[in-house]
Subunit: 207 residues, 2 copies
Amino acid sequence: MLKIYEFPGFPNPARIRIALGEKNAINKVSFVTVNVLAGEHREAAYQAKNPSGTVPAMELDDGTVISECTAITEYIDNTFDGPPLTGRSAKEKAVVHMMQRRAEVRVVDAIAAYYHHATPGFGPELEPYQNADWGLRQREVAVGGLRYFDEVLGKTPYVAGEQFSMADITLYCGLGYADFTQIDVPAECTNLLAWRTKVAARPSVQG
Amino acid sequence: MLKIYEFPGFPNPARIRIALGEKNAINKVSFVTVNVLAGEHREAAYQAKNPSGTVPAMELDDGTVISECTAITEYIDNTFDGPPLTGRSAKEKAVVHMMQRRAEVRVVDAIAAYYHHATPGFGPELEPYQNADWGLRQREVAVGGLRYFDEVLGKTPYVAGEQFSMADITLYCGLGYADFTQIDVPAECTNLLAWRTKVAARPSVQG
């Protein structure tokens, strides 16, 4: 059985739970908690599995460990039945991967940089290097990213076009991360807010 | 005909030229130079095509513009005949995407952060915000990334296993970027250096 290493409630692990939910596959994997707040992800045992030291990671039956959300989602999408999350045609796949990367760089990763560099983050022991100026700059990137996606969602129902995809999952979890770090979605981002309500109603998100 | 917007010699555009070369498809696209050193990528005309303001970007016949190297490479791989660059099975695809992301985060993007933040980069007009401390930290990340990939390449002939893939292209172009920014590959990284010689001999790289 596939094993998912995660920390419940964190934004990146949430992406994988939603992807699995879209495929009706939550019961086809087992979840293992890595105690990130106690630094377990930095310990040798976990680093031997995932040298990136991140959660989530996915362990296949043959022992192969896959980290990085895009890679894990590709596996889930190519393994389980259900609606495609990474596109079908060459063009759809390209658009999904483009929007996935934008949702990472401009929202999820930017918020992570803000959280780990310009707030106490995980606390002094787990944040030995902080660069507040960088973190604050990335906070601005994130707010710009929210405005960008508001514009996108004024034109198409989902982030990568007509169909729900992994890029929606990434952006949706990014908004949860924004809440957690007290970055408000600008009130004028009405397309983004309406899309958020719509995505929140999906069974995969309701969990 | 597919159009590729690029700046010749830059590391990310080079990734797309090699991907096209692997597919014997260099002659199936046209190249358009965006004068990045004059700031053309920041101008409204280019931003209307690619809101990320980056090169490379790829324009399809229907006017759709795809940016982000992973997305462009997915399109190339799924459109042209030739050896697969993004994996075949679900597991291969996952490993390729995982290693692609690591080669970006730990090498190409880390070197870019060093170059744009801790060196003059494109010069004062095009680098209005610099954070030297962040850039120097990312230089350390890059050197750590080179050591990581040396270890990987001690176990498998290519970055994502037995087959050459887009992750090799990314790392290879990252090494070119390291040369350009005067980050030396540590001499003890003999696996990485041997792999580099092998990849350099590929017709797609020879151009």
